[in-house]
């Protein structure tokens, strides 16, 4: 297949999957088979694109013409390629996990769940491959709306409240800030294509460019930059597979991915480096990293702790992009992948613990490592990756971010990274210690979670380690961002 057809296929497979799954409401086995098949096909299509992109091709497909002279375009570039690879690979693992989780917990509305999941993946792929801002915005909003039924899956009062926060934050920021930012860009430049080196130049002047950047980074609420981070903990009312793929990978990564993309392709790294009015961004990102870590330290609910850890880790990506050095931009791209593998492992483990032991609080996890050794071993690997220790993926990306911060001589950023590493260790290692070295609570008779779930979390843990040893592919894609 030629690359253009692959791009279209990648966008169409999950959509077709969603339709098919909806039609198979009465045949759960076939339905889940279709989910897995779609995930596999999607990954195959995305993976087949990778060699083309590595070779320097930028396949593009023009869809509808939305406004006169403003079409919806899909165009694959290295960063989007990387994001799509990560998301589609993890969808396979996550589908496996979902099947185990949803059946074991006897969740209702499973068809709706799989349909929305496939829809969310379609939106994610569209975000990854968006060729201009309007396509990105359309897919970004679609992702918010299609994940709303997933977040409120349980349909109870808590889900409704969580859903309100989720939707309120994400739609409000995107409509009020992001949309205006996009229109300002269109008005000022007459284009909203993603162009290497940026499209903005110095058209707006120093102060207005800084203001526009603020509209973008706060408008992309999915990046969970403080003070617009509250939706992410609120989204934890969702079933765990949702938290895992969407709120560790697809949705949040869509946010930071969009931030990096805007910095690299709209503002332009070099153009921004000359402006004094964008200096506040590393500070805000740094504050978010530290503050969210502190909150995570105090959270007893496991998923809440993971959520705040996500908030903190996302800001690594924003910080890295905001440092505006070639090394840190590579670090930003790598961290999108590295954090995805690590965090999905952690969420899978949390879901496995809930399914097998019905425990949600950190303080209840004494000795659980002895009953669920595989799960907790995978959890430990994920935790190491969050902290940034070898032999995990987190080490690679953190290395580049730290090198970038040092080469930029941005000592605040260096201090933030060091401090947060300590904080990460402070809230993850006690869980591991508690699980393996504290005595078991009496009367707890359970083993591992169902096999598909354990297989899934071991797979992602393996990926986390693999990315440490085989970082070539992501690194090659990330390097292309800097025009290599």
């Amino acid at each position: 297949m030629n690359p253009e057809a692959l791009v279209l296929a990648a966008a169409a497979i999950p959509l077709a999957g969603a339709a098919l799954i909806a039609a198979l409401d009465r045949a759960p086995n076939v339905r889940e088979g279709v989910t897995l098949a779609c995930a596999g096909l999607l990954f195959a299509a995305v993976a087949a694109l990778a060699p083309h992109v590595l070779a320097g091709a930028r396949p593009a497909v023009e869809l509808l013409e939305m406004f006169p002279g403003l079409p919806l375009v899909l165009r694959v570039e290295p960063l989007g390629m990387l994001f799509a690879l990560v998301a589609s690979a993890l969808w396979i693992v996550n589908s496996l996990y979902s099947i185990g989780y949803m059946r074991a917990n006897r969740e209702a509305h499973q068809t709706r769940f799989y349909v929305c999941f496939a829809g969310a993946l379609a939106a994610t792929i569209a975000i990854a491959f968006a060729g201009n801002l309007i396509t990105l915005f359309l897919a970004y909003e679609a992702l918010t709306l299609v994940t709303y039924p997933l977040v409120t899956h349980h349909g109870d009062e808590a889900a409704k409240r969580g859903g309100r926060v989720y939707l309120g934050y994400l739609l409000a920021t995107s409509i009020v800030f992001l949309l205006v930012a996009i229109i300002v860009t269109w008005y000022a430049t007459g284009t909203i294509e993603f162009v290497r080196g940026g499209i903005l130049g110095d058209r707006l002047g120093n102060a207005a460019t800084g203001a526009l950047l603020a509209l973008y980074v706060f408008g992309i609420g999915k990046a969970a930059l403080m003070p617009f981070h509250r939706w992410l903990p609120a989204a934890m009312v969702a079933p765990t597979p949702v938290s895992a793929l969407l709120h560790a990978v697809a949705v949040v990564k869509a946010g930071v991915f969009a931030v990096v993309k805007v910095v690299v392709y709209v503002f332009g790294v070099d153009a921004m480096a000359g402006l004094g009015s964008v200096d506040w961004l590393p500070t805000v990102a740094g504050f978010t990293i530290v503050a969210a870590s502190v909150v995570a330290l105090r959270a007893d609910n496991l998923k809440r702790r993971l959520a705040y850890s996500t908030v903190s880790q996302l800001s690594y990506v924003v910080l890295a992009a905001a440092l505006l050095t070639p090394l840190s931009v590579i670090g930003a791209a790598l961290h999108i992948a590295a954090h995805a593998f690590g965090k999905i492992t952690l969420f899978f483990a949390a879901g496995a613990i809930y399914t097998a032991a019905h425990k949600t609080e950190v303080s209840e996890l004494d000795g659980i490592g002895r009953r669920m050794p595989w799960t907790m071993a995978a959890f430990a690997i994920g935790a190491l990756s969050m902290i940034g220790l070898p032999p995990t993926a987190g080490f690679v990306s953190k290395w580049f971010i730290l090198s970038g911060a040092m080469s930029a001589e941005h000592w605040v950023a260096v201090a933030v990274i060091v401090a947060s590493t300590l904080l990460n260790a402070g809230y993850f290692l006690p869980i591991v210690w508690r699980a393996f070295f504290r005595p078991c609570a009496a009367g707890a008779a359970h083993g591992e979670a169902p096999a598909p779930m354990v297989a899934a979390l071991l797979a992602t843990a393996a990926l986390t380690v693999a990315m440490f040893f085989y970082a070539d592919l992501p690194l090659a894609l990330a390097r292309q961002l800097n025009g290599g």
Partner: protein, 493 residues
């Protein structure tokens, strides 16, 4: 042969259909005539639309009395859009009326209902097509009188009082308008709009001209429900039969907005509007108030139709917001929102009618868990709600894009935030419906409630599909709107 008389037929077809319906009397025949008249009107409107795109302006001298002495029908880029909108919505409402009116209107009044519908259609099309200021008044009254009757057909006795109040307000509005036209006539000696434009320019800013401007503004603002002159609208729309609320919500206010646009930009000019009188600033303030306060009002309604009605007032605020900025993108936004909101709101009222058809109430407290009983209807309402919010991929997004662009063109970043903040309020009120329909357990009011019949569902969902289509593939609507804006701004001096 017929081709050259299309402008006259545009009005004559529905006008003649009305007495035919009264002669036919039988419900089925009446419905058939009304539906055919709507479809024929749509065909004529589309033919005229195409003709105008090629020829620029189509002028038709009624009874061969040459303008400016005789009455001229004059179709250009601006009103051809309005004609298509009105006829299009009528063509969706008429098929829907088959089941809906049978349910909501007493059987012996069916033929009268359809006759009034045709008269109203004729009046609205007439307002849009005529090039004569006094003729416009006559059509305004034809459409208004028939809509008073239509509203009074509602089953609830409050429909009677709403119709009466609308009659009082509407008559005052129309009379204000005709006073304004009278003053212009006294000053210039002509009633032809194109001719008026030239002569008002010669007269300049004499006091009668300014007084005329004020009278026409107030009169038409009453008709188009500009905040705070909107008080008649919510009850009128809420208690009218479903087909009537749907049809009027999409067309009546929109046609009045067109009339305002015509007078502002074609007859008066930038000088009178924005230099001598601060019309821009006044209109801006009122539009912002509508966008914010009326939308907020929608949040606190306990009834779906009331909520939609208040939302209409808010959305009209968007349109007048664009008018007040008076630049190319903002005015494009206004015209395109005229269409987009007309289509969206009619679709939503049709769906609300489907709810009323099954549940026999549109009060939120009875609608808990509705999505389980009527999934397609609720999905349609949510999709229409997305358009009110302005989610990308729906028609509402397209208009919002141009309003923000227009605010930037006017040189103001802060004004660019007004439309988007208002859309958050829309999110708020639409989400109240979502939470009622999807999160509450079904109450006793929903016992035995099924999905709406296809006769209601198909036209409403088709119109929702149009909303989505206009959102994804906008060059057609935006192109027409941009042309209209150009024509209107071209008249401004």
């Amino acid at each position: 042969m017929i081709g050259e008389h299309l402008p006259a037929l545009q009005v004559v077809v529905p006008l003649v259909a009305a007495p035919l319906i009264v002669l036919a009397r039988r419900g089925a025949a009446a419905w058939l005539i009304a539906t055919i008249a709507s479809f024929v009107s749509l065909a004529i409107a589309l033919a005229l639309f195409v003709e105008v795109r090629e020829a620029g302006v189509v002028s038709y001298a009624l009874g061969s009395w040459a303008p400016p002495w005789g009455i001229e029908y004059r179709i250009d880029a601006a009103n051809s859009v309005v004609l298509v909108l009105v006829a299009l919505l009528a063509s969706f409402v008429a098929p829907y009326a088959w089941r809906s009116a049978a349910f909501e209107v007493p059987e012996d009044q069916h033929y009268l209902c359809y006759a009034m519908f045709c008269l109203c259609l004729a009046g609205l099309l007439g307002i849009a097509i005529t090039g004569d200021a006094f003729n416009l008044f006559v059509f305004l009254e034809i459409s208004s009188l028939s809509s008073y009757v239509l509203i009074a057909l509602g089953r609830d006795r409050r429909a009677l009082l709403s119709a009466y109040q609308y009659l009082i307000v509407g008559t005052i509005g129309a009379t204000f308008y005709v006073i304004g036209v009278g003053l212009l006539y006294l000053e210039t000696g002509t009633l032809n709009i194109a001719d008026l434009a030239a002569r008002v320019a010669e007269v300049g800013t004499e006091r009668p001209v300014l007084a005329a401007l004020a009278f026409i503004t107030v009169g038409l603002s009453l008709k188009l429900a500009l905040f705070p002159l909107h008080f008649w609208l919510p009850n009128a729309y809420a208690y009218a039969p479903s087909i009537v609320s749907a049809f009027l919500a999409g067309t009546a206010t929109k046609v009045s907005i067109y009339a305002l646009l015509r007078f502002y930009f074609s007859v008066f000019g930038a000088h009178e509007l924005f230099e001598v009188l601060p019309m821009g600033a006044i209109l801006l303030a009122l539009s912002v108030a509508a966008m914010m306060l009326a939308s907020l009002g929608a949040v606190f309604q306990d009834n779906l139709k009331h909520m939609l009605a208040y939302s209409s007032v808010g959305q009209i605020g968007y349109i007048t917001f664009g008018i007040s900025l008076a630049n190319q993108p903002a005015l494009t936004g206004s015209v395109v929102h005229l269409v987009n909101h007309g289509v969206t709101k009619t679709a939503l009222f049709l769906l609300a009618g489907a709810v009323a058809f099954r549940v026999r109430s549109v009060r939120f407290e009875r609608l808990g868990g509705l999505a389980r009983a009527m999934p397609l209807t609720c999905a349609g309402i949510v999709a229409g709600g997305f358009s009110l919010i302005g989610v990308p991929g729906t028609a509402g997004f397209v208009s919002k894009w141009y309003f923000v662009l227009g605010a930037l063109e006017a040189g103001s970043w802060s004004m660019a935030f007004l439309p988007v903040v208002s859309s958050l309020i829309a999110l708020w009120y639409m989400w109240r419906f979502v939470e009622v329909a999807y999160f509450r357990a079904p109450g006793p009011a929903l016992a035995g409630v099924k999905e709406a019949p296809p006769a209601l569902l198909v036209p409403s969902l088709a119109l929702i599909a149009v909303t989505v289509f206009f959102g994804l593939d906008a060059p057609l609507t935006v192109g027409a709107a941009a042309q209209a804006a150009q024509v209107l701004l071209g008249g401004i001096r």
